[in-house]
Every structure is written in C-alpha cells, then in structure tokens.
C-alpha cells in the first residue's frame, strides 16, 4: 500500500500532465465527484484527482524528510539521554528538549522563515523541529524501560560490549515502541504543514499539496465535503497502511495471542530478542 503511494508520487508526471493539476476553471468550481472528474473539482475548478496525485510528491517529500530528520535527531538524543539516566547528560538533554518542545510551533516556523526565507527547506526544517522533541522524549522512555529488562541485565552480566547491547538488544526494542509513533507522525506532519501554510511556507500556489488542500477545504466542509474528504482520506489511508507496515516489521502480531490463551502450547519461542539471543 505504502509502495503504491511512493509509486504514484514518483511516476505521476508520466501519466498526468502538471497542467491538469493547476488549470483554473471557475465555471466548474466546486463540482462534486462524478462524471469526467471522478474526484470532483476544487474551489477554483481544478481537478482534485490530478491535484491529489501531484500533491503526493510534495507532501510525501516534505513529510518523510521532515519526520525522518526529526526522528533521527530525536531518537539519538532520547537514547543517549536514557542510557545515561541520572547523569548530567540526561538532565541537560531532557531539560533542553522539554524547553524546546513548548515553543509554539507557529513561532518557531516564523523564526525559521524569518531567518532562512520561504522555501521548501525551511518547511522541512520547521516540521523536523516541531517533531524531534516528542521523539526524543519517547525514545528516552522506551530506552529506560528496555534497559531494565532481564535480558539486557543478563547480557551485561555475561560481558557483552556496550555497542553490542545497544544494537542487538536495546535498539530493536526501542524501535518497537517508536515505529507506530513514527508512522502516525507522518500523517500528523501533513496537518502541521497545513497549519504552517499560512506563513507562506510550502510550494508557492498554485502548486498542489495535501496540507494546504486540507486547510482550504475547511471552510467548504458542509456544502462541498468532497474538498476535504479527498485529501483527508488520502492521509488517513497513508496512516493506516503505514501502521500495518510497521506492525509487520515488528512481527509481533501473531505471537502475543499464543501466550495468553494457551499458555501450555507455546510453540516457537516467543520474542526474537529473549535471553537465547545473547
């Protein structure tokens, strides 16, 4: 499913000319789905279908880059903090992250725009900046929880090096907790982009972008819901498919059931990273 999205984003120029996404046709403004335009037309008469597909490119780029950068920075900081729990590094990082996460997003974006100018990069930067603190905090929490677990303690006792413990034991378990959050972050990042649109951040109009499509659709909610439903469904679908993807990657879903309902029949050893793996 996710690959469908990425595929569309990458290949759309081959199938749908850009013109389609930006051609204004006021006479047909706000046309509901049906007929030639199977997703309807927006407030300026542009094809929602074309805008959706072309929008995938800018939106996915910004959102993946932004959350990716934010996530990377956040997880690194969070794990560093968690691993040194109680030490000065932990205190410093946590305090800094807490202070920064409280800054109103709009203010941050304004400062970013003011200093860097209105550009795609600024938008990605603003998204990254507003997402990294939550990642950091979550990663720290996950690291704290994991490092107390028996298999980690055992691994330490058995003399495994710090690096090995980190990569083989702590990181994967932390990712278990983080991945669902990261996948959701991508879709909430679209909403962040929508909110920042009014600072002029983002592709200059009339370039299509899901976030800005969502924010303009706001006023037409009652009379012409298709304006909102189309991009919102795309975002929701993205969230759901990413969610499924992250679950598969974690590979847990068929295991848990076994423990609870039939404790006697355990079959395959549960937990990829139990004591046996040390």
């Amino acid at each position: 499913m996710v690959f469908l999205y990425l595929g569309i984003a990458a290949l759309v120029p081959l199938f749908v000319p850009y013109e389609e996404a930006v051609r204004v046709d006021l006479a047909r403004a706000l046309e509901p789905p049906g007929g030639r335009e199977w997703l309807g037309r927006d407030e300026l008469g542009r094809s929602l279908g074309a805008r959706l597909m072309w929008g995938a490119r800018s939106t996915l780029t910004v959102v993946i880059a932004g959350v990716g950068a934010g996530g990377l920075v956040g997880v690194t900081l969070g794990m560093a903090s968690g691993l040194h729990h109680g030490g000065p590094a932990d205190a410093a990082i946590t305090a800094l992250v807490d202070a920064l996460l409280a800054l109103p997003r709009l203010l941050v974006a304004l400062l970013v725009v003011g200093l860097v100018g209105q550009s795609f990069e600024a938008l990605i930067g603003a998204v990254a900046f507003s997402s990294f603190p939550s990642f950091a905090r979550l990663a720290r929490g996950a690291t704290l929880a994991v490092q107390q677990r028996e298999f980690v303690v055992a691994a330490v006792a058995l003399g495994a090096t710090r690096g090995r413990i980190l990569i083989r034991h702590i990181l994967p378990n932390v990712l278990d907790v983080l991945l669902p959050y990261a996948s959701l972050s991508l879709s909430t990042a679209v909403l962040v982009v929508a909110a920042l649109g009014f600072l002029g951040l983002g592709p200059p109009p009339p370039a299509p972008e899901w976030g800005s499509m969502l924010s303009t659709a706001r006023s037409y909610l009652w009379e012409h819901p298709h304006l909102l439903v189309v991009p919102a469904s795309a975002v929701a679908l993205l969230a759901v498919s990413l969610s499924l993807l992250s679950d598969q990657f974690a590979g847990k879903h068929s295991q848990g059931k076994a423990v609870w309902i039939r404790p006697a029949k355990t079959g395959k050893p549960a937990g990829r990273r139990g004591l046996t793996d040390a």
Partner: protein, 511 residues
Amino acid sequence: MRKCWGWRTAVAVLVGLSVAGVGWSAPAPRVLRVAEATDVVTLDPAFAADRPSHSVIGHIYERLMRYEYDTQSKAIRPVPELLRRMEVSPDGRTWTFWLHPGRVFSDGNPVDAVAVKYSLERILAPAIGSPYRPLLEPIQRIEVVGPDQLRVTTSEPYSSLGENLAAYQTAVVSPRAAGRLPLREFGRRPVGSGPYLLAEWLPGQQVVLGRNPQFSGRRPWADQIVFRPIPEAAARVVALEAGDVEVAMRIPAEAVRRLEGRPDVEILRVPTTFQISFEFNHRRKPFDDPRVRRALNLAVDRRAIVERVLLGAGTVPTGPAPEGVTYRLALGEFRYDPGEARRLLAEAGYPQGFSTVLWTPAVRYGKDREVAQAVQAYLADVGVRAEIRVWEWGAYVSAIARPEKEAGLYLLGVSIPTADWRFYRNFRSDAPTNYSGYRNPEVDQLLDEARATTQEARKRDLYARVQRILWTDPPYLFLYDQTLLVGIRKGVSGVRILPIETVELHAARAP
C-alpha cells in the same frame, strides 16, 4: 389583641405575596448578544483600529457627528450627534460648533466644550501618539468660546473636518477620567456619554455593556449588550443556530445557503466600503505604462471571481470607491475582454506578455489566496506569467511599505468611508501610505482643491473628476467590493449594520 394580631399577619402576608408576585413577574433582563470574529482590542477612541472595538465605542461614547447610511443615495452621511449647530467661515479656516447642552458623562461630568476640546487635542498630542493625528492635523487652535460653544481654526482650509468628526476615533471622552488614568488603562476603563457603559470585560471571552443611567438621549431597548469573540466562522454559525447569540457578524458565504433555509434565522447582506484590489507597483516596469495597467484590468473576469470564488459575498466594482463612500460615483464595470487586453499589451511592447511577481497575504482577506490564484490564471491567459508569493500579515505590512519591493502587484484592501481621507492616502503623490508609487499631478491638484473648498457642489464635482481619472487610467487592478454577511435571529429587529462593518444596536429589540 388577637384581632390586631390577625390584621397584622394578614397585612404582612399580603405584602409578602405582592412582593413575591412582583419578583416573579419581574421581566428577565433584556440582553442582546453579538458574536464577533475578533475580540475588542481597546476602548480608547484615539487608538481603536478594529471593527469590534469601533462597535463597542459607538455604544459607550458619543461623537460630534455620526455616520448614517442613507438607503436612497446609498452613501454614508455624517449626521449630528452631540452637535447642535455648525458654522464654517467663508475662508474655510474657522469652524464654530455648538453642542447640545446638559449632557453628562457616565461619571457625572458634563459634556461641554471643554470636554470636546480635550478629546480633540488628545488625538493631536504627539505625547499620546495616536495614529489618527493626520485626520485632524490641519487644526491649529481650539478655543472654548462658551460652555457649549467652541471655535476651531485650521492652518489651511480643510473642508473635510466635518465628515472626519464622525469617525469613531473622535469620540468625546471624559477629561476627568482620561486625565486621571494612565494612557493604556483608559482603553480598558472608558468613560463616555453614550447609552451604555462598560460593565465587564473578560478578555477573549466577552465584553458586557450595561445601561448608562446618566444618558439623556432616547433609551434603547436592551438593558445589556454582550459582545463575544468567536474566532472560528463555523462556531459563530453554530452559536447563531443554537440561539446562543442574536447577531452573528461575518458569516462565511459557504454557510449562507444552509442558513437561508432556516425559519429562525435571517441573513443580511450589507455592501461595505471595503474594496480589494491588486495595487500595481508603479516603480517597476512595465506597470508604469498605462496601457499595461488597463490591459490587466480587462484581463480579469471579476464576475466569475465574485460568483465562484467569493460565492456571492462581494460585488463587481463600478468605480474606485464602493457604495457607501461619501461623494462616490458609479462609473460602470470594467468589462472582461482578454482579446483587447492582449492587443493593448502588444501595443505597449509586450506581444509575448511578461513575467512578474504577485504578492498576497494569507488569511487576512476572506479568500485572499484563492483570489490570487484565480487572478494568476487570468493573467496567464493573456501572457502575463505571475509567480505568487504568499506572505504572513505581519511581514507583509512591512514589505509593501518598502519602495524597492520586488512585487509587480500586491493585494490590499481599503475601507475608509470618507472621500478625502480615502483618496488622499492612496493616490496623493507623496502620501506616506501611498505604497504603489502612483503619481498624478492632476489628481493631486484636484484632491487639494476638494479639501479646501467649502462649497458642496464644487466638492462633488472635483471628486467626480478624480474618480473618472482613476477609472479610465486605473492605478490598481480593482477586484471586488466586499459584502458583509450578518446573521440575525428572526424576531430581532432594528439591528443596524453600517457599511464600515460596525454594528449599532441603539434601536434594536428582541422578542
């Protein structure tokens, strides 16, 4: 003894019952609630710039004159409020004002010539720093000639003084109150002579007005008026539908169809003095060429924009001043003629069109970005490739004030209801707020003369000539005149909405 006791008890019971009866049948307070889009900012007339503040000021204070909308001539007219009589000397430099005697402020002090002098001088004082100084700037001297009479002398003839005295900013304040309180505080504890006074102000939540017992004019129906800021348009509509408010300002056009079907709600469409245009940057080629400017004005289908983008919340302009502005002239719509536009552009030396940059603020004027994109498309049709740049309002305001700005055209609206102030500030060659760089010595001369002359007919003629010039050689790409949509619950009558987008409830009543 028993008999007396019985009597007394009976009397007591009767008295008790009647008091209780009165209590029970005492009418509920008459309240009118208005939902606004933004909160009141300040109630100090010298500083108030936004509509909700003006609306409240209109209920708490009185002015020498006030604006009335004449449905026949479709113009705003200044009519006397505190003024009993006004005389201007033939040379236009000396004005004598007579006030209605006997009025008092809510703090008991008299509304006399001293108070008026104080209020006007307050706006002029550089120490106070009112941004509305230019309105009264030509005033040289104000003298109190009698308890209800004052004389104002201006440095040069300034015939617009009369109409400017109807502006909310010139409301008469109580000298005792204003003098006693620190400047910023007076805006929160106003003292005026209007029918209401400020009972409570919970910022962000509500402004409650109660009756002013000292008011000597006609008593309004409402005991209490509440102004509630509800920023989200959808929420205002819900509040109106649910009956939480009697009046909801700024209904979005998208909600109108749904509301018009309801029997308990009525929609008022008020033409406003707010006109939105793309100002051309005359300092940048090719916008200094009148053919190019005219061509671009012909290239845009305003009717389609008003109907399809604004969903009817606007009208196509018929002149550089919309309905409601004093001395305005209806000169006919610009037609939509892209063929002629292309021809003019070719004649001006741009057969292939040209590239330019178009600026628009975001979330400032209703559908600013949508309108900008529609215009971009129309310009593209005649070969003008405009790149859009969206600005956040705070940065925009500073950016457009810079003479060397990169924009070829930028979106801006004007809502001033009086001809002198409105044309002067935008079109006079060296006016500090003339951001476009428009220079026309003929217009300058006409405006100066209109300001100086005291003869009505001559004034009308001069402004007519100014408007004709501005319409045949347009300095802007005039787009649309905004229509204000207001929702009122059925049964509520007498609500007056002025074309300057303020609400007056002096004559309003609810069932």
